[in-house]
């Protein structure tokens, strides 16, 4: 494999990583608070559709991100109300929400013609860093959306570990009764986490649109939300590790396309590549069997017992 091919592999991997990373961060925060949000695939699709609507009608990157974000917040409020407010079964609600959201976006896509505008996100080589041989090209010469997504990783880590709000959020997932005894509302912290999580997932969808074409295509999320569920387990609910896992998945997917550089790849059936991230997730769940969901995940808070 040539040097150029290797660099291209990582560059493409980094770009493939971004929507998945945002969805994974969203899922991670929500799960830390004790809510398993299987609806993030649906959030992504909605975020993608509305970001494209905004871009088509305004030609503005900010508008695209803003509408994607707004839709994420709205979706998050609805989901928080279902998961936390009503305490519905999270797995069933999430699955049904995804089926519903994919149906809605497909129906809307048929009624609402959009034209591709191309990405509006400028590429920004970071001064000095982008001059480093190899590394610079691989990691520091990307679209601003890439940096934005990666920058959210330390923000999320700091939020969970370094702020009172974040600590209370994690205790809503680990030990809700203690949080409740301390006089805080478990429901409030969980709801906010679901809203943040859905918003990040919707942003992931928006980035999918904004980084490629500016146009929504029905079915473009293609199961990324479900891969994110696996990513979170493998990353053991740490944002930093989620970044690494997403990057690895991105590079693995990019490897599929390096057939020109590596002849041996030609004999590998395409389906192997398609199945690989999911198989890796299964494997990781098995190997990391000590990886334990926050103890109150999927258990609705119904008040102190007794």
């Amino acid at each position: 494999m040539s040097e150029a091919a290797f660099i291209a592999l990582v560059v493409v991997g980094v770009q493939l990583m971004v929507p998945l990373l945002l969805a994974s961060l969203g899922e991670l925060i929500s799960e830390r608070a004790g809510v398993l949000n299987i609806g993030i695939e649906g959030c992504m699709a909605l975020g993608a559709f509305f970001a494209a609507v905004a871009v088509t009608s305004t030609d503005s990157l900010i508008a695209g991100l803003a509408l994607g974000l707004a839709v994420g917040v709205l979706t998050g409020i609805v989901l928080a109300w279902l998961y936390v407010g009503l305490g519905l079964n999270q797995i069933i609600t999430g699955l049904m929400f995804t089926i519903l959201a994919l149906g809605v976006t497909a129906a809307l896509f048929e009624r609402y013609t959009q034209s591709a505008k191309g990405t509006l996100a400028p590429r920004l080589p970071i001064p000095l860093l982008s001059d480093i041989p190899w590394i610079g090209e691989m990691f520091f010469d990307h679209s601003i959306l890439v940096y934005g997504a990666v920058a959210l990783v330390p923000v999320c880590a700091w939020f969970l570990k370094g702020t009172w709000w974040g600590l209370r959020t994690t205790s809503a997932g680990e030990n809700p009764s203690a949080l409740d005894s301390a006089g805080y509302s478990v429901r409030l912290y969980r709801s906010i986490a679901v809203v943040i999580g859905s918003t990040l997932a919707a942003l992931g969808g928006a980035v999918l649109v904004l980084a490629t074409s500016g146009r929504f295509v029905s079915g473009m999320t293609a199961g990324r939300g479900f891969i994110a569920l696996g990513v979170v387990v493998v990353a053991r609910w740490y944002p930093g590790r989620a970044l690494l896992v997403c990057l690895l998945i991105g590079i693995t997917q990019a490897l599929q396309f390096q057939v020109a550089a590596i002849d041996a790849l030609e004999s590998v059936p395409v389906d192997v590549w398609v199945a690989l991230p999911y198989l890796a997730a299964v494997l990781a769940v098995v190997i990391g069997r000590r990886a334990r969901y926050p103890s109150a995940t999927t258990i609705p808070w119904i008040g102190q017992k007794g």
């Binding site: 493409v12 609805v78 009624r111 013609t113 473009m220 293609a222 057939v259 020109a260």
Partner: protein
Amino acid sequence: MVSQIRRIGGLLLIVIAAVAIASCGGSDDSSSGSANGDGGGGGNGDFKVALMSEGAKNDKSFSNSVYDGASRAAKEHGLDMEFVGSLVTPDEFLRQGNSFASSGVDLLMFIHGGMAVQAREVARRFPDVTVCVGPVQPTPEEEKTDPPNMCYWDVQQQDGSFMAGALVAMMPGVDHIGSVNAFEFAAITRQAEGFALGARCINPDIKFTQTYIETWTDTDKARAAAQSMISAGVDVILSATDSAVVGIYEAARDASKPVYVIPSYFDAYEQAPDVILTTILHNLDGAIDDLITQAQGEGLEDHAVLDYDFVNGDVGKLAPFRDKKKAIGAENIERWQTEIVDAVKSGDLEIPGTVTTDPQLGSVGSGTKLDPTEFGCKA
């Protein structure tokens, strides 16, 4: 009780949000839903056509082109035309087809080459309805067992990609071409292999790289595939997928050297004027228009097979080169016109068929294995 009310109040909120969403989509075009070609005019006002497809009618790709052809025919002859997109499973196609057939359509079209079995079943149940399926060719056994009201249509997609491949190979500085393909089956494979064979017709040493991405719609994956090709030195990329093609435009734009994209089916020039070299128009709209026109006129003959190719149906004409004339080179366009296009028309150059012929371009690798001089290439 209070909580009950709250719950219902919340649901109402969702309803309101849903309405807001739906109406913002609905305000866009009032003619959507059933796209009647205005059945009022013409003597054939009661001739009804229904089309069923996998994609949406506004996907700016395969289904869009089909829809355009059907609308044109409907308008010209004053027919009732309905188009339903986004169908996925074979039983959905069957039920939808049954629903149309029992609602009294005269011509029912399955726009999906893999739905011959379902089409045959509807044709058997409704002998008065002409049921067409395509793009696909019937097998010899099928021709024997089909009911008479069953018809097939096909467009020889390799014709266009062959000629596009030849054109690209003439361009200065192009020595490596690529193709991003959806799934591995004949109707897709023949496009990519035809592209490779056409290029080798001009330049036997040209390098060809292809990837099957197993999706019609994942734009980001299409971009990643194209980007990887570009970094390996590919200069022109054919799209043999569907609406995911927009991702390929983005990869081409992002390249440090000029890279061109050749999409298929629908002239989407305005979607990416900077990188689209030309579009291979498989003339689906022309084929569909012709088929509907024939069916509502004298009617199709029993067991009709309508096979459209470049010679008989303009399948594979390239969209205008517009501002890319310079990049291609005026003398190359001229040479291409005489050496390739005219030669195909006159029969001096014979592009292989899909699977029923020998040699064929329906299997992976055929385009790089076949010897182009056997079909009339000079190189």
